[in-house]
């Protein structure tokens, strides 16, 4: 297992190099003069523009700029934002926690709700509950998150006034040591529920399919015959085995959400990383785009690794780093 872990972590380096190169080439080719965006506005003095280009190294040939960029990366320096004029690392540190909190909340809600609905549907295969759950799953997966967010906002915030319309809140607690401010809980509800409703459908459908497939297995009867309680049989034998494909999809969803739930962040004015990247792309704030994409690439690889490791716990037949178990 240790060898496997080390191998996977070492595999991160070429992935990051490839991502860095591809992103750099793409943003370099995007039309527009970054110097003008750094200086801001129209009708600028050409001398100011020249000075900006020199200050930021934008007048160097492309290979020089690329090598300088790679050199900084090796030192852990993701550069400085053209627009905000502060380190990209600081920008990620500020915007990733809200995205992480939203993604975790949405995935937890979606997992709980999806597994529950999938279990209910599996328990009444072909019945009304099953059909309703399947219908809800399709509707949930088909709804544009932007529209769903606005509808939930109109109902629960504008009409019923149960929840705040938007925002992260201004007075949430600050976590000691890391200095991350948590959202106010009521501000988290609507964006998290919006995202979770979209994810819940696929989780419910996969849980249902998995449980139906596992329900016919002999080992459930064996476990019951050995005296295991019904709850234990369901949780440790039926559900646990049915969850392997569900965990895969949850892992993928989670990794995708960490990249930023842009539409949700946009609707609910959530100060997350997705919105930050989209804005940086629009403004051609290249260091921010490059830094964030690299960071998210690393996060995706790590989340996938975590999901792979979870398989070992869920299914003892899965084994990494040596001969396969029987």
């Amino acid at each position: 297992m240790t060898t496997y872990l080390v191998r996977r972590l070492l595999g991160l380096a070429p992935v990051l190099l490839a991502a860095a190169t591809i992103v750099w080439i793409f943003v370099f080719l995007v039309p527009g003069d970054p110097a003008r965006l750094i200086a801001g506005g129209q009708g600028l003095d050409p001398a100011v523009l020249e000075s900006v280009r020199a200050e930021w190294g934008l007048d160097d040939p492309a290979p020089v700029q690329y090598l300088r960029y790679l050199g900084k990366l090796l030192r852990g320096d993701l550069g400085v934002s053209y627009i905000q004029r502060r380190p990209v690392v600081a920008i990620i540190r500020e915007h990733f926690p809200p995205t992480f909190i939203l993604a975790v909340s949405a995935v937890l809600l979606a997992s709980a709700g999806g597994i529950l609905l999938g279990s209910l549907a599996a328990s009444r295969t072909g019945g009304l509950t099953d059909r309703l759950v399947l219908l809800l799953a399709v509707v949930g997966a088909s709804m544009p998150v932007f529209w769903l967010g606005l509808m939930l906002m109109l109902l629960f915030a504008a009409r019923l006034a149960w929840l705040p319309v938007l925002g992260y809140g201004m007075e949430g607690a600050v976590l000691p040591l890391i200095g991350v401010r948590l959202p106010e809980l009521d501000h988290l509800v609507l964006p998290a529920v919006t995202l979770s409703l979209v994810l819940m459908g696929s989780i419910a459908r996969l849980t249902r399919t998995g449980l139906i497939a596992v329900g016919a297995s002999e080992y459930l009867l064996t476990a019951s015959a050995k005296g295991a309680s019904s709850a234990r049989v369901f949780a440790l034998h039926a559900l646990k085995n049915a969850l392997i494909p569900v965990v895969t999809i949850i892992g993928l969803d989670f990794a995708s959400l960490l990249g930023g739930a842009v539409a949700t962040e946009y609707v609910f004015a959530w100060p997350g990383l997705g919105k930050t990247i989209v804005r940086a792309i629009a403004l051609k704030d290249l260091p921010v785009v490059e830094g964030c994409v690299l960071f998210l690439t690393a996060v995706c690889v790590l989340v996938n690794l975590a999901v792979d490791l979870l398989y070992v716990w869920l299914d003892p037949r899965v084994h990494y780093g040596g001969a396969a178990a029987a």
């Binding site: 527009g32 003069d33 970054p34 003008r36 750094i38 801001g40 506005g41 129209q42 009708g43 600028l44 003095d45 001398a47 100011v48 627009i83 905000q84 004029r85 502060r86 500020e94 709980a112 709700g113 529950l116 279990s119 209910l120 599996a122 328990s123 009444r124 606005l150 109109l154 504008a158 006034a161 149960w162 929840l163 705040p164 319309v165 938007l166 925002g167 992260y168 201004m170 401010r181 106010e184 809980l185 009521d186 509800v189 449980l211 329900g215 459930l220 009867l221 019904s230 709850a231 369901f234 949780a235 039926a238 609910f268 004015a269 959530w270 100060p271 919105k275 930050t276 804005r279 051609k284």
Partner: protein
């Protein structure tokens, strides 16, 4: 046996499912209690104004601020020697208690107030003025608006690194500063009202770590408190403000990009002011009633023609035909646009000419002019690329212009691109014109003087990327603008600007003249002391506002 085996796990599933459902229900109930228990409004005793910005300010450094979003915050934290009265548009004292102008109209002597304090408690002195001006001018700062100080003798040499001092800046004593200009320059005081001439304390702004970018310190009516990117900026009343402590205790600037979400937040009471109105929803507009504030804004929207590229190059008749072909009234009333423009200088600015005929909608005349231009019914006129930056509102405008031009026989293809690509296509290089043949643009005046729009956009000295993207050149217009700069009499200056405008509009049809901007803002009825400023919705002096919820 089979039946028993399959039904037993299902029963278990149901029990577990019910347990999960109960747990989720409990969590939801707890969330609901938490939500209802949290106060949504500021404490009643505190006067708090909450308004929205659609994005984070690109900067809070006054030397670098070059956009309305940055100015919305910076203007409340900083002050300069003089300031523009947001209502009357007159220059009035700020940190300078008074000033005198010598007979040669080149020497300005400012006497500073004794009671002006920075937010760190230190008194503002003439040394701070010198430091701030040097900072804005210096190469290291790269201020996009260093030009506002360049009329000072020696300022350009200092900015270019050719001189260690600004020759025209002297400090006779700690509370007096003398500025000597290279030549008489009538708009100098107006330029000094711009935020880039604001005063900053050296002990804060000499910081190599640039902490001031996230924690600005000025001497304005509000001091900076907090900034959480993409979330909010908070300002607090400055007790030591020389103009008296503002009535508002706190300003919360909420960063909300989505227009619809911001509107819902305003309607739900989470905002006291909103910089966009729902003019697409007549019923809601009627319900909002007096909460809708509409007032002129000193800016002009236009379609630029590239005078270096065919078919507009040297073809005045074609440019006039396009002007007559577009229904500006329809754009204003049906598309939620702005009032039609008859020229360049917007109302409220000395030199604006209400009697300028302009180009009212006249398709028949447009067709005649198109034929005169060499393209009867559009025959022989190749498709023209019309560039604009991505925006739903601008797209609607562009589609209407495309349809109007099609009606007279001119084919226009729309090129919608992001801002960076748009600027590249429009500006070109000093040597080469951009590839855009026609393009939509708008210009907000930095200060209320006709020179602030005519010179940057139409004077040949700003040819190319410096502002005159159209590559328009008319020596008579240049001469009139140059002459106006040195005239002491405001009436004589205004006459020169009217004449210059008449040349660009009626003789040369330099652009397609579309509209004069308007500000549209929502304010809750309990917000009092609102001054409608032609300088823009974010130039309403917040130190004069009061939040009187009991009076609403």
């Amino acid at each position: 046996m089979d039946r028993e085996r399959s039904s037993t796990p299902h029963a278990r599933v149901r029990r577990i499912a019910v347990a999960i459902l109960a747990t989720l229900g409990t969590v939801a109930a707890v969330l609901q209690v938490l939500a209802c228990g949290r106060p949504r409004q500021p404490a009643a005793a505190e006067q708090v104004l909450r308004f929205r910005l659609r994005e984070d300010p690109p900067t809070l450094d006054p030397a670098l601020a070059n956009d309305q979003i940055s100015e919305a915050v910076v203007l409340n934290v900083f002050r300069g020697l003089v300031e523009m009265d947001p209502g009357t548009l007159e220059v009035r004292p700020a940190v300078a208690a008074f000033w005198t102008i010598a007979e040669d109209r080149r020497t300005y002597t400012f006497r500073l107030r004794d009671d002006a304090l920075f937010h760190n408690g230190r008194r503002v002195t003439a040394r701070d003025v010198e430091y701030s001006f040097r900072r804005t001018l210096s190469k290291e700062t790269n201020s996009p608006r260093r030009f506002i100080l360049e009329p000072i003798e020696g300022a350009r040499e200092f900015a270019e690194g050719k001189s260690a001092a600004i020759a025209g800046l002297t400090i006779p004593d700690e509370q007096t500063i003398v500025l000597r200009l290279s030549r008489p320059f009538a708009p100098f005081l107006s330029q000094l009202t711009m935020v880039n001439a604001a005063l900053v304390p050296r002990e804060i702004y000499d910081d190599p770590a640039r902490a001031y970018l996230r924690a600005p310190v000025g001497c304005g009516p509000f001091r900076f408190s907090r900034w959480e990117q993409s979330n909010f900026i908070e300002l607090l009343a400055f007790d030591g403000y020389y103009g008296g402590r503002p009535a508002l205790d706190r300003i919360q600037v909420r960063i909300i990009e989505n227009r619809e979400s911001a509107l819902q937040e305003y309607l739900a009471g989470g905002l006291d002011s909103l910089d966009e109105v729902p003019n697409h929803d007549d019923a809601l507009m009627a319900r909002l009633g007096s909460e809708v504030h509409e007032y002129p804004f000193i800016g002009t929207q236009y379609i630029g023609f590239n005078h270096m590229l065919p078919p507009f190059k040297g073809n005045t008749a074609l440019r006039k035909a396009f002007n007559y072909a577009v229904d500006k009234e329809y754009i204003w009333k049906a598309l939620g646009g702005y009032p039609p423009a008859n020229g360049i200088i917007p109302p409220g600015i000395p030199g604006h000419d209400p009697d300028l005929p302009g180009y009212p909608y006249d398709p028949a005349k447009a067709r005649r002019l198109l034929a005169e231009a060499g393209y009867p019914d559009g025959k022989g006129l190749p498709p023209i690329a019309f560039w604009f930056n991505t925006s739903e509102g601008i797209r609607r405008l562009a589609q209407k212009i495309q349809a109007d031009l099609k009606a007279i026989g001119a084919d226009v293809t729309l090129r919608e691109v992001d801002w960076a690509a748009y600027l590249a296509a429009v500006e070109g290089t000093p040597e080469q014109p951009g590839q855009a043949q026609m393009f939509r643009f708008g210009w907000y005046l930095d200060y209320p003087d006709a020179d602030a729009i005519l010179r940057p956009l139409l004077h040949s000295s700003n040819w190319g990327p410096a502002g005159n993207y159209f590559r328009y050149r008319n020596p008579r217009l240049d001469a009139l603008l140059d002459e106006a700069l040195s005239l002491p009499d405001p009436g004589a200056r205004a006459a020169r600007y009217r004449e210059a405008e008449r040349i660009a509009v009626m003789e040369d049809a330099a652009w397609l003249f579309l509209s004069y901007y308007q500000s549209q803002t929502l304010f809750k009825p309990y917000v009092k002391g609102i001054v409608h400023s032609p300088l823009g919705e974010f130039r309403i002096p917040l130190e004069r506002l009061r939040v009187e919820k009991g009076a609403a």
